[in-house]
Symmetry: C2
Subunit: 410 residues, 2 copies
């Protein structure tokens, strides 16, 4: 059996980037529970993190909880990653102003695959301290009797008191009955996998409490204590205002190209840099440079290192600096944007270069490409056809040393 | 194939004791649908009546819809009696100020058996125009996906607008989430049995509309018209005020002894007599006697005839009259009551006679019994032990010709 965390990393585990742990009374708290485990040589804790694959890509916002899960893994506990293949078909109504469109099983399966591919960058899948589960495994087995028992455990009033639901109800926006199932089903996951701790963003408190409650009501647990909830911050996006989100566009994706990732991160608003270090890296916060510009650069390099490699991160930094120098006084943040929505895909590169205004004609664009003067995020491109905007969005398109555009999709 | 109703009984079918039929537009109405069936030689209609066996006994209030179902049967249509063995475990929240206690499958099975035994007195079970179904048959097969689809068809707002729910929500009385399932599940019965008409009390309009709605949304129906709803009055009980109900105590049970049934019915408040004739008998309403006392007696005799026999009804009438004469000026309605809750069962008859005060001592009671002077609803009793109050409740216990008590359980 793996060794349970020692005192030294216990404080990182329970404090770094943690907003709240509940329950947290003098007698009933997570530190005690873990201390007892160490003293008694008892089994490691089962740490639950549920992810609904409602979109195909992970961004840094998702990594906050995944990284905490990894910390538990490193401390000797068991990471239970639940792919909400079933619940994703309903969609967590938390924080939504309207019902989510229901996803098909095919969409969910595709998303889950890409999610896992990316989660592997953070969680150690090969460890015996890892368990991957899909909640369809037990939710598809529930019969109507069991669902009735689940539903009978909560009242309409409790559900409508949940943030989000209450707003929608008061505004007269429809709440469909199946949305009330979501908290119960994801809560039932805690019963099914017998979790000791559930991780989640601060917006998940209600859902995690439902899981706790359902565990307490479960006859088979026979008095075993219910799970703790550990709430983690919702990462603010690059705009410094809203929660990081692909639909808002203020995100850094885990599959972003190194230069794109670097150039986004070296512009993280000063007010967020410390929190990004705390939540997204292992760097000792006492060791950070004082100069704000240096801090941003270090952040960008550390994170690019994590998801690519230190060498690639260094290269990205050099490329970014070269672009800045080439662009003279222009900071990357100031370079103009070109909206890819103006392009009819599929589109050849020379057409894109001309349409964006970087060249005046198709023939000029074609000869610049031939000369190797056209680059995307610093890499030379030959003329080819792009099927859609996916490969281009967020990158810097460059002709020669002085003309730059950031390609955006809006 | 059985012959579909002719014009002459169509008016009885659609008018007698019917509060509302919906939809009822010029182009879309039940009379047209039936006329078309007759003209086209098409299949008979499938008439749904769902009964939740939440209590073991039927009373006259239940027979209103059962009788209408029989009328459809007699008119050539197919009576589909659904025993809500599944839904009874939830309980229809309609008109309830709080959640029903959930019944066990055993309780439901027992109740269903006695229900059916009694329903046979009204519905022709042996006819090929009869289909008996239990909704556990299809509801137990529903998986979570299907339940989500059902729930996604309605909003919390629509559900809370339902009479009963809205009151409870506003008063802060808990509504448990599973109660919202009830209308959907009983509505799904209409999909499962493919009903053309659903019968129900006026309080069932919401539930019947849900059934209509779910049929319309069901892909497999391919544009087939949805069921009509036929709403029937809720029978007012013997108190002349509240809906007939066993728990209120204002009821006539189908298994009541003839004398008990007769003596209750001959006291039906004048204001209700006509409606009782309309809903509970086939008597031509134009033929009723004018004298109110005669009317009551005829009502009592007709109904006792229906559930026992004309001979027994006549006997019950004579017995009742004898008791009245014996009791001098006393109407049966005025005889004092004795509450069986005061008796510790099992109890021997002589103890009951003494404890009720009809005799002054056990020995007097025993000798009266030996002399054949002790009667229950006019029938002589020998001394024996009663296991519980069931056989006694509602009956008249008599010693000699002048001492009477009505035995009640409260």
């Amino acid at each position: 059996m793996s060794q349970i965390s020692t005192q030294s990393n216990l404080s990182t585990l329970l404090d770094r980037g943690v907003v709240e742990i509940f329950p947290n009374s003098e007698t009933d708290n997570l530190a005690n529970r873990i201390q007892n485990l160490i003293q008694n040589g008892d089994r490691p804790l089962r740490i639950k993190l549920g992810i609904d694959p409602t979109r195909p890509d992970l961004h840094l916002g998702h990594t906050v909880a995944l990284r905490k899960l990894r910390q538990f893994q490193d401390a000797g506990h068991k990471a239970i990653l639940i792919i909400g293949d079933f619940t994703a078909q309903i969609g967590d109504p938390t924080g939504r102003s309207e019902a989510r469109p229901r996803l098909t099983p095919e969409e969910v399966a595709y998303n889950a695959e890409t999610y896992l591919e990316q989660a592997k960058k953070i969680i150690d899948f090969s460890s015996d301290r890892f368990e991957l589960r899909r909640n369809g495994e037990w939710l598809n087995q529930l019969d109507l009797q069991q669902i009735i028992t689940l539903q009978a455990s909560m009242t309409v009033g409790q559900m409508l008191a949940k943030e989000g639901f209450s707003d929608r109800y008061e505004k007269g926006n429809p709440i469909y009955l199946h949305e009330f199932l979501y908290p119960l089903l994801q809560g039932y996951d805690s019963v099914a996998i017998d979790s000791d701790v559930e991780l989640g963003g601060t917006d998940q408190k209600f859902n995690i409490l439902v899981g706790r409650d359902l565990q307490l009501k479960d006859k088979h647990r026979q008095g075993k204590p219910a799970q703790f909830g550990m709430l983690l911050p919702l990462l603010v996006g690059l705009d410094g205002v809203q929660k990081m989100s692909k639909s808002v566009g203020n995100y850094v994706g885990l599959t972003d190209e190194p230069l794109s990732m670097y150039s986004k991160l070296e512009k993280v608003p000063d007010a967020l840099v410390d929190q990004y270090f705390e939540l997204l890296t292992d760097i000792d916060l006492a060791s950070l440079p004082e100069n704000p510009r240096e801090k941003q650069k270090q952040l960008a390099r550390v994170i690019v290192s994590q998801y690519h490699s230190p060498e690639i991160a260094l290269q990205a930094q050099q490329d970014a600096e070269q672009i800045v120098i080439a662009g003279n006084t222009k900071d990357l943040g100031d370079i103009p944007e070109f909206n890819l929505a103006e392009i009819n895909f599929p589109a050849p590169l020379h057409y894109l270069v001309k349409a964006s205004g970087l060249c005046k004609s198709n023939s000029e664009a074609q000869s610049q490409i031939k000369n190797g003067a056209v680059k995307l995020d610093g890499e030379k491109l030959s003329d080819r056809t792009f099927a859609n905007a996916n490969e281009l969005t967020g990158k810097v398109l460059q002709v020669g040393k002085k003309k730059f555009l950031r390609l955006v999709s809006e």
